[in-house]
Amino acid sequence: MMGFDRRLVEHFDWLLFCLTVGLLGLGLLGLYSATYDGSPQASPQFIRQLIWAAVGFCGMGLAFAIDYRRLEQWAYLLYGATLCLLILVPLIGSFGGGARRWIYVGMFSLQPAEFMKIGLLLVLARWYHRVVPPGGYGIRDLFAPAVFFSAPALLVLWQPNLGTTITLGLLFLTLTFTAGLRLQSLSILALAGGSILPFIWTYLKPYQQQRVLSFLYPDIDPLGAGYHMIQSKMTVGSGMLWGKGFLLGTQNRLDFLPEKHTDFIFAVFAEEWGFVGALGLLVLYCALLIRLLVIALRARERFGLLLTVGVAGIIFWQIVINTGMNVGALPVVGVPLPLLSYGGSSLLTTMVAIGLALNVSTRRLFF
């Protein structure tokens, strides 16, 4: 189309980029500690994550380079592609921890459910951009977006992967809310959601039910999820004001937490860096999210706005669910902490999402 556009550099959103890099750095620090086994050599997980971070920067660059208005035109194609990947999972995917979530490509495993977040975001932003009924969306208008959401959500739930299903659901709700609902539809949606819950409940696997129950009634499973919860609280709490210091977390060392490098990375971080560190981390996240919303406010058209709000939504809800679980305020559900948790697909997805936001931010002054 055209050569290199100087404006891409002139208007580049350095603030968003630096916040991302800062959080990524903290994440690698936490991961190094969580997978540290006493030897000076970095753990294989740490090295993998470094590789994935490099891949993530490439993904981010790609998501930034292609004009997002072109991506809007490709939305269905990209949505279809991620959906295909997701359908492949039950066919050629691998088992792990009682679920089938991964596809192996060489020595790396991909989790298509993560990429689905981007696919769903693009297709919903496009649809809400193009179809704007006066006075907001009625229930009947929402049929198409509901289908866009349900197809991948059911596939992911079936894996089973409750955490990602919930994230997809919250992304759908966030975008729908931002796009503008009639008050009436909002209440109907709330009602429908409430009545559908019991069905979802029966669909959950026993261990998932157990987790929710053990959150609502901590006494019910003191040996399983209840134990993880108390250990996690203890890990966070024992960090006190200044923390125990880098690589000095005792809870971390003694392996009391399951999946500490993914689901409980926040607890590991809070133990070693204390209240000061953990609060600092939260402030960084908060700054990132506010920056994303500012970009959304400055976007030139609905698509850019919705796209950026969606990016903020994906990141925000994962932070809420993950840290909420880490501080014992929400049930134990496996959701990664964006930019911090170990996991290539999650890291790549988050960085691509932020690349999209950079894209919108930088091109807002282009005509």
Binding site: F177, G180, L223, G237, L254, A278, V327, A329
Partner: protein, 620 residues
Amino acid sequence: MNEQSEVFASQETLTACYRRIGVISLIILFVFCALGFRLWQLQIVEGDRFRTLSEKNRIRLKRLPSIRGLMLDRTGRVVVGNHPSFDVILVPEDAQDRLTTLHTLASYLPQAVDFLEGKAPRNPLRPAYEGISVARDISWDTLAMIESHQLDLPGVSVEANLKRFYAAGNLAAHLVGYIGEVNQAEMAAYKRYRQGDLIGKVGLEKAWEEVLRGYNGGQQIEVDATGRKLRVLDEVKTQPGYNVHLTLDLELQEQVEQALGEAEGAVVVLAVETGEVLALANRPTFDPNLFALSIKPNEWRTLVEDPLRPLTNRALRGQYPPGSTFKPFMALAALKEEVVMPETQFNCQGGLPFGGRTFHCWKRPGHGWMDLKQALAQSCDVYFYKVGQRLGIQKIAQAARRFGLGQDLGLALAASPGLIPDIEWKRRRFNAPWYDGETLSVVIGQSYVLTTPLQMAVATAALANGGIIHRPFFVTQVSSVDGEPIQIYSPEIMTRTEIPEEHLRIVRDGMREVVHGERGTGKKAFLPDIEVAGKTGTSQVVSRIPGKEEKVPRHHRDHAWFIAFAPVKTPKIAVACLIEHAGKGGGAVAAPVVRQVLEAYFRIVEQRKLENDGIRQTAG
């Protein structure tokens, strides 16, 4: 104009979105404040407490193993129970100086030396705070020593646990089975087990594992810096396993084992009307108590390397040619197919020439003229060669299978199917046609024919009850610890063959003659006041010229069989007895065993009846 309105519309919809983005920002700020507050609560307000708890991780999980269910015999006597066992546990995290602690411990407990020398089992998956079992079932003296030196032994504790106790010792050991620590394969197959858990490995312990095991519980406990329990924070109660009521009669079992003596072999006693297994004995045997707390390597080696294979459940898994005990079933087939009449006579001259060789009768001078009944009583081979020639292999196989021989009996326990050959089998197995000479060997229960003692007992019971094949069973009831029945098992009929009363009478008469007749082959099973129907059998292991048995190596000697049911008029029990490589005929070695079994059975029944009457009278 058009473009203008679009831009205007787009601007309007954007402005509408701004309000909602405002709402979203408020939600985000609120949530982050809440998270920050929560962190302040955990790390500042409660930080001290959590810091203390996290040192040496003061909150631990303690597993509470469930109590395994009992096995009771049909009169309620305990066959398998549990006994207290004091186990020494070491938590390495809590032992300040592991080596010193172990050295001190070793002076009271020799087993601790293994840990010093690094011989102890290692499990890299074990969390550092979880205890290792140093010794199990220590003596009272050791217990007292360790308890009184607690202060010198940080990280060492004594736990009262239960160990499996096989109250019946080696009685019915093969049937009851034993337990052992789960292996990797079992853990992968059943999610509920963890390293160190015990699981039924063999026999009823294995088959009824699900029921016997119960559910483990656990405690979240707070401990002090040396690992001592301060308080229980939370608890999941254990659920004890269910008790299993066996069909076994322990008193009879004891008598059966005594009757079998030291001879290698097996005896199965069935209730004729139900298929309940009243007694099941194997020789050689072993003491399952050796397995109750993991078996010592040298004891295990002794059991496994013994050429007589004491761990094998011969009654269920041993496959032997039935020899002449096959004949009653052949007689019924002959009558059914009308190839002989009850009065049909053949002249036995000690052998039958066929295909260029002579098929001998066991009695070389010959039996002379025999009818069916006498042929059974005296076990005339020549008579049955003729029967075999007239029946043909397919009819023979059909008849045998109708009685459950060579069939899978569908037990929860591992059992062998035996083998009843036919033309199809031979083609598949050897890719060769069936030869008529082979029929003559098969009809007298030799050559390819294989049966298990249990199958012979089931078939004998069917002779006694008029053709009903019951699936043999071992458990009548599963009940909770409080004695509440959870599941009751009733007799199950596998197949029912119609046998004319007339045919039954002839075969039963013949079998009665075996024991009571002048020339019967099984007179050693004779009881003075109860009529017994029986059949002897001697099955060849290798074909050879008869000679001095003592000179033949043990594994070439003949097997001896005796099957019986009694009383003849109103049959109650069926017995099958096999003596492996006895070197003598069934009438000589197996019949006396069965006599003792029958005698014991009727004596015990009589005695119980008297006792019950006594109770009833005193109650009245």
